[in-house]
Amino acid sequence: MPHDPILKLAALHASYDATPILRDINLQIAPGEIVALIGRNGVGKTTMMRCMIGLLPTTSGTIEYAGRDVTALPADHRARLGIGYIPQGRDVFPRMTVEENLQVGELIGRSRNSPATDLVFGYFPILKERRKQLAGTMSGGEQQQLAIGRALVGNPDLLLLDEPSEGIQPSIVQMICRVLRAIRDKSGTTIVFVEQNLDTILALAERCLVMEKGQIITEIPPGYVTQDSVRRHLLI
């Protein structure tokens, strides 16, 4: 890797209550990479995301972000350091308006070019149209755009997305993929995402990490992310 990794997990173990979920995870992500975490249901992909943002404590091992050991830092501190997280199920604050949701994202106070909301409205015009609407009343696709927009106004250096395509119509998914790529190309934002949908993986990922039973069993290196290689790992 040409650069120091922006994210580095070493010998990471994590468990829910007493049940071990992640076992000896080692991975490095370079700045500006787009990496997919793939594998079947229940292999620990979401758990890994929750560990990375800090919602789930690790049992042992270390997480380094931008050269700094963040293993002991709570999620809100990691977010302020520049890790944006979009949880599964397109979580928004349902009783706030679109605008207020974006304001929450801005509270992180990392926005370089203000107002950052204009940039997000540029990527997702529907949010500008709906900015006075309560987020809870919008469709799934709109909520996902808002969830991504909320993370983007915080100007993250690393974006973690948990199944961005789940339950969203394909045309919106394609649009979201285009936007995410554009953001990486423009700002150098590193993107790590969990995904099961083949088309989304192919449209976005440059590298895939394949998980099974709480471990990373193999990776699909850049240039080899093809329909065949991905499908093989999604099915086994």
Binding site: L55, P94, M96, E100, Q103, V104, L107, G109
Partner: protein, 285 residues
């Protein structure tokens, strides 16, 4: 006519007292999922601050202004030292706050020597409109309640701190991933709720005599209000407190006072039975 207006005034002024007391309790319950059984004692501490200020020669007004600050700071200390260990275990939190309340109540009972102390109204007397007399202090309490409600609502709806509070209220986990430190926010909320209780105690103590039990006499009604209004919104507990306040002060005029108290509970429990989620349903998502 004159009697009706005085009756309405009395009902409104008691409902204001109820809202003042319940607001802090509701804010803490909504935000942190903790029913603070020491809330009544925070009210007592506010009242006691006014008494101390008066006996020290600093005057009543100094005490009224100092009460929310003193009780707020004490709330912050108690949250940092004790309450934060109870998050996520509701029953232990109830027992723990009950114990804190007990310590405060009995300490002050000792300090007061079991006596009842009368605190005069800082502005006594009454004014009259159209031949009907209105107590000035009760009017001030009504106005103070309206100002506090408006101020709290404005803070929640229009300020960055309000945005953080609403975020943590709607989805604490998501709020954390948005960089909001819920730990700090909970400490702040607890201090704010305590300060409101302290202010309530300071404002109402001239209407009642100061005794160690001044807070606890409102506690059950306050809990009923929060149950009735529902947890999770700003409006819920306020509406609940208004309802309980109106019932508790209005019913004695309709039925014998002995029946009024149990009737308040009966009506409230029937409403809660029919609408278990409270008037305003909006729990954590």
């Amino acid at each position: 006519m004159a009697d009706t207006i005085s009756l309405i005034f009395n009902i409104v002024s008691f409902a204001s007292v109820m809202v003042l007391i319940v607001l802090g309790l509701g804010v803490i319950a909504s935000m942190m999922g903790i029913f603070n059984f020491a809330h009544g004692e925070f009210v007592l501490l506010g009242a006691y601050t006014v008494y101390l200020s008066a006996t020290a020669g600093l005057g009543l007004w100094f005490g009224i202004i100092a009460a929310p600050i003193v009780v707020g700071i004490l709330g912050l200390i108690i949250e940092r030292l004790i309450i934060r260990r109870f998050y996520g275990s509701l029953i232990i939190a109830m027992l723990g706050t009950y114990a804190i309340g007990l310590v405060i109540r009995e300490t002050i009972r000792g300090l007061l020597g079991g006596h009842y102390e009368s605190i005069p109204e800082p502005i006594g007397g009454a004014f009259s409109i159209g031949g009907i007399n209105f107590s000035i202090w009760r009017t001030i309490i009504i106005i103070a309640t309206i100002l506090i409600l408006t101020g709290s609502w404005w803070m929640l709806a229009r300020t960055p701190i309000g945005l953080r509070i609403r975020g943590a209220l709607e989805n604490p986990m998501l709020a954390r991933t948005c960089g909001i430190s819920t730990t700090k926010l909970y400490a702040l909320t607890f201090a704010f709720g305590s300060a409101l209780a302290g202010l309530a105690g300071a404002l109402i103590v001239p209407l009642y005599q100061l005794s160690a039990d001044i807070g606890i006499r409102f506690l059950v009604q306050a809990f009923l209000s929060v149950m009735l209004g529902g947890v999770g919104t700003f409006q819920g507990p306020v509406l609940g407190a208004g309802t309980v306040g109106v019932m508790a002060s209005g019913l004695p005029w309709l039925v014998p006072p002995v029946l009024a108290d149990p009737l308040v509970f009966l009506i409230a429990l029937i409403i809660v039975k029919i609408r278990p989620q409270g008037f305003i349903a909006a729990g954590r998502s």
